[in-house]
Symmetry: C2
Subunit: 179 residues, 2 copies
DNA sequence: AATGAAATATATCGGATTGATATAGTATAA
DNA sequence: TTATACTATATCAATCCGATATATTTCATT
């Protein structure tokens, strides 16, 4: 999904600044299935503005730093709808941690342990963030996707916990079973 | 993970051509957690070659098209080990389908149904591919990661199946509950 | 009131990646 | 013999990514 469509997606839910758009993909409801950085957001907002798909309200001076709030126009809403009408590209997962664990025999024990611990902690935190998102009065599609993300995170946490020994105590017989 | 490290990762498991490396990320054991295209693989192989980290065996003519088989050198193996010693970047998921389903109310019914069906079929196929991979004599790290991928895919299939109505029969009361 | 740390906010840049496409030999079958 | 598909290498423009620069505000500490 290109940066322009992602920005429109945030804006159809409410006006926002570039900074606020970024936060949606960092911590907000999109965090677990899309990502886009400032290097894509700002050029995208410029283009969308040129094309008349969004309108900018610039508030310079007045005691605070410039704050440009973007709002989607009716034309933008229509373009967004058309973007969603296409068939989606297949999902893509990029997990460097999984790559490391795949080659566990190339890592020294301490590093492997740290990778495992950090990875599990990361996913546990994600579960909590997702559970914290308020599901009140949210359209069904958003509820569905939120549940999907949660199911995914929980599956990872469960698997990691249940199969810890397979990765970390491999080949060590039943030696240092105590932790 | 940069393309060079990904290529080295494939090559430490056995010699391969650029085409074969690609297949590893398309269907092979890396398919569910990394991706890299020809546009990254060929430049990476050139650089690795220049740096003496891999060796090329060119077999031109002889009835078949050129086939360049790459093999990792001892220096390459060491560089690979060092690459793995760094802390991994956080996971990244990019799901355009989830983005569409998030905005379910913007999609017409037929398209939403198609998106749901294709998505579920895609993940069911992934589960079968993963289950088909032979786990005989595989190091523990690879078993662990294979299981992790499988757990993830199965969680998606289960959630999608159990929550179908939330997405597709939203707001329709208890009307056409029979399917 | 000064200092520093953290958060808010916009923006840019080089290098890397992506998806599409070009090219071409082999194989199989209609 | 036409064509469809697979194997195989390679390139390219458009885009994207991670890092960084800049600057103001807010808030707690000293």
């Amino acid at each position: 999904m290109d940066a322009k469509t992602l920005c429109l997606g945030v804006l159809v839910m409410g006006d926002a600044s570039g900074y606020e758009i970024r936060k949606m993909f960092e911590e907000g409801p999109f965090a677990h299935f899309q990502d886009v950085g400032y290097g894509s957001i700002y050029p995208a907002l410029s283009k969308l503005s040129e094309e008349g798909l969004i309108a900018v309200t610039d508030t310079p001076g007045e005691g605070h730093p410039d704050k440009k709030v973007y709002a989607v126009t009716p034309a933008g809403r229509e373009v967004f709808r058309q973007s969603l009408a296409r068939a989606p590209m297949p999902d893509k997962v990029r997990s460097d941690a999984a790559f490391l664990m795949f080659f566990a025999e190339f890592l020294d024990r301490d590093h492997l342990n740290a990778v495992y611990d950090d990875y599990l902690a990361f996913y546990r935190a994600r579960v909590e963030i997702m559970q914290g998102l308020d599901p009140e009065g949210v359209p069904e599609g958003r509820l569905f996707v939120r549940g999907l993300g949660l199911a995914f995170y929980q599956a990872v946490v469960t698997y990691m916990t249940e199969n810890r020994d397979l990765l970390l105590n491999a080949g060590s017989g039943k030696a240092d079973a105590a932790e």
